[in-house]
Symmetry: C2
Subunit: 181 residues, 2 copies
């Protein structure tokens, strides 16, 4: 097993995760999450997570972008994997930075390109919710709240400049509710 | 030294770079580049690269986002590091996917927050160019062309939906001119 230590490599200005055995430097870069708020009429598609963290909580179809795909392709792949949905992307709704964990989320506004959806292997359930029906107490992550709110605000209007982090968490550094308490 | 091989780890669906010595899986994730088109009146700020690749060519102040920063903070840090410029960000101008190398570029439109700029350690020169003065034959990367064109198109107008890849390279898979010839 690799044992990693934090040291400042020669010629660099900050600590990097380095393998004590072989010297490999595991550069930690922010990761990109791609996802979408999929609207069907006035309802929005949410997935109930089958995996940790936040198993059983509701989220957007979203996940880590892979190499060799574009942001749009990543968002379509995730919608397929998690909700067995073929989506039609309209444009970027929001870009959130979650500095606490080194993450950037590119969230699109989308519709269904074909009717139909179903839970993929990482979802327990997939459903359409009217705004008043959304299970607000069982939403997986703060950024899902942010994106849903943004989607609601932009409803019926052409997309403009994407939203960035909301004022209550401009750097994405707030701990998740229930974490570390 | 670490020797890495490509294998499909148990329970995964694609090849990952794995250390043959210690089993460490070096997940390759797309990297995020943050940068900005910094306008001063009708002129635009460009940096002449002091480092490879494309040493001597002109580029935007941009670079890899670090952990624990937001996209805006990353763009401001890069403008400082490469052009010793304090910038004021207006909003997202463009989001480019470069699938060929697993990269996402978040490019802002910005101005100078304070007067003054100078080459940082990774730049040979920093200058303001009028549109007709831009050294088009010595631009470092295609996405710099794209961003400059987008900046020009949006000049004098409020920012709207960010531009994505242009039609000539929708996935960012075209080889760089001069590469692999
Ligand atoms: Zn090792
Ligand atoms: Zn190793």
């Amino acid at each position: 097993m690799a044992s990693f230590v934090r040291t400042v490599p020669e010629g660099e200005d900050r600590e990097r995760l380095t393998c004590a055995d072989c010297g490999f430097i595991a550069y930690e870069n922010p990761k990109i999450v791609v996802g979408s708020v999929v609207g069907v009429g006035e309802r929005v598609l949410l997935c109930r997570r089958a995996i940790e963290p936040r198993r059983g909580f509701w989220t957007l179809p979203a996940g880590y972008m892979e190499m060799a795909e574009t942001v749009e392709e990543g968002a379509r792949r995730e919608a397929w994997e998690e909700a067995q949905a073929r989506i039609a992307i309209e444009g970027v709704l929001a870009i959130y930075s979650i500095a606490r964990i080194g993450q950037v989320q590119v969230i699109f506004r989308a519709g269904l390109a074909e009717p139909g959806f179903a839970p993929g292997p990482e979802s327990l359930d997939v459903r359409l919710f009217g705004w008043e029906e959304i299970p607000w107490g069982e939403i997986a992550f703060p950024s899902v709240h942010w994106a849903l709110r943004q989607w609601r605000e932009a409803a019926g209007r052409p997309l403009g400049l994407p939203a960035m982090n909301p004022p209550e968490d401009v750097r994405g550094t707030r701990p998740l509710p229930g974490d570390g308490l």
